[in-house]
Amino acid sequence: MKKDIILGGVGGQGILTIAATIGTAALLEGLYLKQSEVHGMSQRGGDVQAHLRISSKPIASDLIAAGKADMVIAVEPMESLRYVNMLNKDTGWLITSMNPFANIPDYPAIEDLLKEIWKLPRYITIDAEKTAKEAGSIRAANIVILGASAPFIGIKYQSLEQAIRKIFAKKGEDLINLNLKALKLGFDYAQKHR
């Protein structure tokens, strides 16, 4: 088993929580893991990315090679497209939220972005904010995206649930359940639309 995942978004959107959840689940399954994060400058409303690699064998590089990523998981549509050069052309999936984060004056029209995403052979686009609201809070949008990615990660769904329980343990039972619901709604959507 080996999955190379690029995570993309804007500072503060919670991509590191996605990475931490997948990472925790991977450890629960006894897999090797390398996760390279971006800190510093890019936290102030700039684009952020993380490389997450999980494998049943030891992993060498902290960075994923361009053209070798199995998945791009993004919490923002323009950010998802920023990393399509990383995807494996034959097998790679792109999973992204359709909700733009337009903090720059020249942000493109969302239709133009979606048009580009829908040209790809394998993608899931989801209204993560609407789905997160259904689950109970718009702030769980990142976990909706994680749910929508779950069918492709190669980790048991139960392990992801367990990881969420661990990561949100300090925040109380209500928030755990909310995030588990967000995960499930994202997962169901992806299963239906893959």
Binding site: K34, S36, H39, G40, H51, A66, G67, V84, I104
Partner: protein, 538 residues
């Protein structure tokens, strides 16, 4: 023991804790900050009484480390690469004095300049000071090298450098811990002259350092951090330093490289091992993150031997960080990139946070400077440097920490009027204070804005040594009290503040304006903690 998941930085921190550390001394700077933050947050470190408060700058941190080493305990000093420029005087001389307690200096390089003003390679400093340098390949080695480095430093009585780069510093992986070594008892150096670098004594110490060089090299041959892996295909030999080794391995199924490989993780460069490789192969490819240090050594000035390939020769780009595909191309392995990035994508540069006090400070400054046009505002390094970009476009310089005030002094001496300096609170106590003293002594007409957001914002909100001290410092340095003005940078106070700015800019002496309002990030973090504490009480 179980594996724990650690960033490269955190692995260094844990390795040092387990290696018998008594104190970490540092000034924040990406990508080194998390080393000290990990120790500050570690319960274990607290129980062990390990000192970990931030220092005012890298030089004071380095000297504090030397002092702890003098007193017989193990110390670690951490900084980003450019911080080593600030600490350089102390660092270079610590190589001459040598150590009593173990002393490890961590310098975190930032190739590709993700959040730095240059991409200097700290290995040159290690070579310059003639001390051992350790360069980890992965998180486990980062742990091992911090653990081993403290002991190595004691064994040789010399400081040891650990050089990391951004990708390893900020990448997480599993690490296995070793048994904890107890801290040293305080004990003074056996030789009372060891730390006195008077010429007569310094000459002796220096020849001692020179005498240790071959021992440093042989340690690198037995420590396991340098390793030779033979391969059947002798048409090429590869030297891979630190992180670059991973990018090499990544390109071969199960990591089986067909060529002979020398992995370098400890310097001085192991010349005997390099010689073995050189004799065995037709040509050599050097993979190193940063500058072509090893490649340049091998080529020499005349470059007359076997072909040496790398960043100088052109098989790899001269600047920027490496990645698996760049290494693949250098090896002649074909790589197929993914889909083309569509042209609708726009850049998303970092910006000042919504509600950031700096925005209001600069809006008033822009209005105050309108009559003079651009070219008068010397700035410094911090969040406020983002005011160089649209929409504010307020500042005209950013060179090194502290340079705002001193550049304003120099420009004023050349006749520029008005000459304005803009500096953050932490940068002011890091290295702005001495420049202000120059201005006061020289009686140069400048106006200094000390943007006091009560934190080190740029690097994530660490404690600022300037907190609650700025007016007193300025007064003590000799700025006249009536020309030290504190304002609150808020939109609704714009006109009031603008009037004060104009007054002080018109003053023909040294004036200081302190726009004071807390960083909104640390403020909201504080509020959240407060709310949580309240909830817990109920």
């Amino acid at each position: 023991m179980d594996k724990i998941l650690l960033l490269g930085d955190e692995a260094i921190a844990q390795g040092a804790i387990d290696g018998g550390l008594s104190g970490v001394f540092a000034y924040p700077g990406t990508p080194s900050t998390e080393i000290t933050e990990y120790i500050q947050a570690s319960k274990e470190a607290k129980e062990l009484g390990i000192k970990s408060e931030w220092s005012a700058n890298e030089k004071t941190a380095m000297e504090t480390g030397i002092g702890m080493s003098y007193a017989g305990k193990k110390a670690m000093v951490c900084m980003k690469h450019v911080g080593l420029n600030v600490a350089a005087d102390a660092f270079m001389n610590s190589a001459i004095t040598g150590t009593n307690g173990g002393l490890v200096v961590v310098s975190a390089d930032d190739p590709s300049m993700h959040s730095s003003q240059n991409e200097q390679d700290s290995r040159f400093y290690g070579k310059f000071a003639m001390i051992p340098v350790l360069e980890p390949t992965n998180q486990q080695e980062a742990y091992d090298m911090a653990y081993y480095g403290l002991t190595l430093s004691e064994k040789f009585g010399t400081p040891v450098m650990i050089r990391v780069t951004t990708r390893l510093a900020h990448s997480r992986s599993g690490v296995v811990r070793k048994e904890q070594i107890p801290q040293n008892e305080m004990h003074l150096p056996g030789n009372h002259n060891q730390f006195i670098l008077l010429p007569s004594m310094a000459r002796k110490s220096y020849s001692g350092l020179l005498g240790k060089q071959s021992a440093f090299e042989s340690d690198g041959e037995s420590s396991g951090f340098n390793a030779f892996y033979d391969g059947n295909d002798k048409s090429l030999g590869i030297i891979a330093c630190g992180l670059a080794y991973n990018y090499l391995i990544e390109n071969f199924e199960d990591g089986k490289v067909p060529y002979p490989v020398l992995k370098i993780g400890q310097y001085p460069v192991p010349s005997a091992m390099v010689n073995t490789l050189y004799e065995a192969v037709d040509e050599i490819l050097v993979l190193e993150e940063g500058a072509p240090l090893v490649e340049e050594l091998l080529r020499g000035l005349l470059n007359r031997g076997k072909k040496i390939r790398g960043r100088m020769e052109g098989s790899l780009p001269r600047a920027g960080e490496l990645n698996p595909n760049l290494v693949a191309k250098a090896l002649g392995i074909e790589v197929e990139e993914g889909f083309e990035i569509p042209s609708v994508i726009k850049g998303r540069p970092p910006v000042l946070c919504d509600g950031c006090p700096h925005i209001d400070s600069f809006e008033a400054l822009n209005d105050a400077m309108k009559p003079y046009g651009r070219g008068h505002v010397f700035s410094d390094i911090g969040c406020y440097t983002l005011s160089a970009l649209k929409p504010l476009e307020s500042i005209d310089s950013c060179v090194d920490m502290g340079a705002s005030i001193t550049m304003a002094v120099g420009a004023a001496e050349a006749g520029l009027s008005p000459s304005i300096a803009v500096i953050g609170d932490s940068t002011f106590t890091h290295s702005g204070m001495t420049g202000l003293l120059d201005a006061v002594v020289k009686q140069v007409p400048i106006t200094v804005f000390i943007l006091d957001n009560a934190t080190v914002g740029m690097t994530g909100g660490q404690h600022s040594a300037a907190l609650g001290r700025i007016e007193d410092i300025c007064k003590g340095i000799g700025v006249e009290e009536e020309h030290i003005r504190v304002v609150k940078p808020l939109r609704r106070l714009h006109d009031e503040n603008l009037a004060i700015y104009k007054e002080e800019i018109a003053y023909k002496g040294v004036s200081v304006i302190i726009p004071r309002r807390e960083c909104v990030q640390t403020l909201s973090k504080r509020m959240k903690l407060k709310a949580a504490a309240k909830r817990n009480k109920k």
